[in-house]
Symmetry: C2
Subunit: 254 residues, 2 copies
C-alpha cells in the first residue's frame, strides 16, 4: 500500500524542500522505492537534486496536460529515488486550475495511474494554501508540517492546521496530520527551546526528531546533493536518518 506524504506549511522558508529531499533520500536508502513530486513553481526540490528538466514534461503537464505519471517521472541518480520535476510553468497552474472541473482532485487522479509502483510518494509544496497545495493535500495520506523554531513560524501553525481540517472534512477524509517537525533548532538560543516547548505542548504528535540549524544543509543543494551524499557524517544527515526511522516506525492516526 503506497503511502503519500505531503510536506506543507504556508509559512515560508521553514525547511519544506530540505525535508522533502532529505527524507526522500533517507527512505530510499532504507530500501523503499520513493517518488518525489515537486509541486512548487520555485522548483527548489528539482534544483536541489541537480535535475535539469529541459523541455521534458513536468508537474504542470501532470496536473493540466495529458501527461501520465510515467511520462513525467525522471531518475535522480540516487538509487530507488525518482522525481516528478517542476518548472516555472507551474506558476500559471494556480490560476489555470481555478476553471477546471474537480480542480482540487487533479493530483489524486494523476497519481491513480501508476502510484502502486512506489512504496512512498513525497510531495513538496509552495509556501501558500492555493490550489497546488490543496491538490497535494487532497491526494495525501499524511502531512508533515515543518516548523522553524522561531516565533513568527509558531504564529501560523494554528492557521495551517485549521486549513488541514477543512481539507479533511471537504476533500479527503483519510488525511492525517502526521505531526509538526521542528527545524532550524539552534541550541544556543532560548527562543528555539521556547518555541519547541510550545509546539510540543499544543501538538503531542510532534516528531521526536529535531532538525538542528546546520550550514551543511544550506550548502548541500548548491551541489545538487542530499545531505547524506554531501556530508554523511554530519549531524544533519543523522537527523534525517532518524526522521526516516520515525516515519517508517509509526503512523499517528490523530
Amino acid at each position: 500500500m503506497t503511502r503519500t506524504i505531503v510536506i506543507a506549511n504556508q509559512k515560508g522558508g521553514v525547511g519544506k524542500t530540505t525535508t522533502a529531499i532529505n527524507l526522500g533520500d533517507a527512505l530510499a536508502r532504507r530500501g523503499n522505492k520513493v517518488l518525489l513530486i515537486d509541486c512548487d513553481p520555485q522548483a527548489n526540490a528539482t534544483a536541489g537534486l541537480g535535475i535539469s528538466v529541459g523541455d521534458r514534461p513536468s508537474t504542470y503537464d501532470l496536473l493540466l496536460g495529458d501527461a501520465s505519471l510515467s511520462d513525467v517521472t525522471m531518475p535522480t541518480g540516487f538509487d530507488r529515488l525518482s522525481i516528478v520535476p517542476a518548472t516555472s510553468d507551474l506558476a500559471g497552474a494556480e490560476v489555470e486550475l481555478t476553471a477546471v472541473m474537480a480542480r482540487e482532485s487533479r493530483m489524486t487522479q494523476a497519481l491513480e495511474g501508476g502510484i502502486e509502483a512506489y512504496d512512498i510518494v513525497i510531495i513538496d509544496c509552495p509556501p501558500s494554501v492555493g490550489l497546488l497545495t490543496i491538490n497535494a493535500l487532497t491526494a495525501a495520506d499524511e502531512v508533515i508540517v515543518p516548523v522553524q523554531c522561531e516565533y513568527l513560524a509558531l504564529e501560523g501553525l494554528g492557521q495551517f492546521t485549521s486549513t488541514l481540517e477543512l481539507v479533511r472534512r471537504n476533500l479527503n477524509q483519510k488525511l492525517r496530520m502526521r505531526g509538526p517537525l521542528l527545524t532550524m533548532y539552534d541550541r544556543r538560543t532560548t527562543l528555539s527551546q521556547q518555541v519547541a516547548d510550545e509546539v510540543r505542548s499544543h501538538f503531542p504528535e510532534t516528531f521526536q526528531t529535531v532538525i538542528a540549524r546546520s550550514v551543511r544543509l544550506g550548502e548541500a543543494p548548491s551541489h545538487g546533493l542530499p545531505i547524506h551524499a554531501y556530508d554523511p557524517r554530519s549531524p544533519a544527515s543523522a537527523a534525517y536518518d532518524a526522521l526516516a526511522e520515525e516515519v517508517l516506525g509509526t503512523v499517528t492516526t490523530v
Copy 2:
C-alpha cells in the same frame, strides 16, 4: 510625493516581514510619516508589532469591502508609524479577487483615497506571486527584494525579476526594482559570501547594506517590537538604520 515601497519575493522565509517592520520603524524614527500595509494572510507584520485586530476592518476590507484607507488604519504605538493590519480572512482574497473587475488594481484604487497623508507606504507581501502580491506591485513605485544568502534563495531571484518585468509592462509602468537586499548573511560561511558575490554581479543595484544573521531579529517579533525598540545597540538595529539611510538617499531608476 508619497513613495510606495513593496517588500516582495516569492521565496519564503527570506526576511520580507522583518524588513517591512524594521525599515518602516527606522524611516519613521527619521521623521517620516510611514504607513505599513500587511498584505500577507499570515499577518506576521501585524503580529510582529503586537497588534491585535479584533473585529476591526483590515486589509481584506480595503481590497474587497467598502472600507476606506482611514477606516482600516491603526496606530502601532511607535511615533509616526501606522499600520493596516491583516487577518486570516485575507487568505480568501486571492480566490475572491479572481472574479473582480480590474482585480490587479484594487490596492491602487484603495490607496488613492488618503495616501498623501504619508511620506512612505511599505507593503509586506506573502511568499507567492498571486493576486495579493500583484496588487501590491501594481500600486508600487519601487520594490525591495530580500534575498537570503543561501543557494536556494538565489535560484528564485531570476524568476521573480521576470515577474516584475511582466507587471511593469502590463500593469504599472512606473514600477522600479530598487534592488535585492542581502539578508541572513553569516560571515562564518563561504556560502554567504558566494551568494552575495553572485547576486551583486547579476544585480548592480543590490543594496550596499547587508543584514547579517542575528538571533535578536528572531526574538524581537515575539515581544511585538521592532529591533530598535528591542535592542537598540544590536548590529541588526544598526543595519536597518543604514538601510533606511540608503533608501532615503537615492532611488535607482533602473
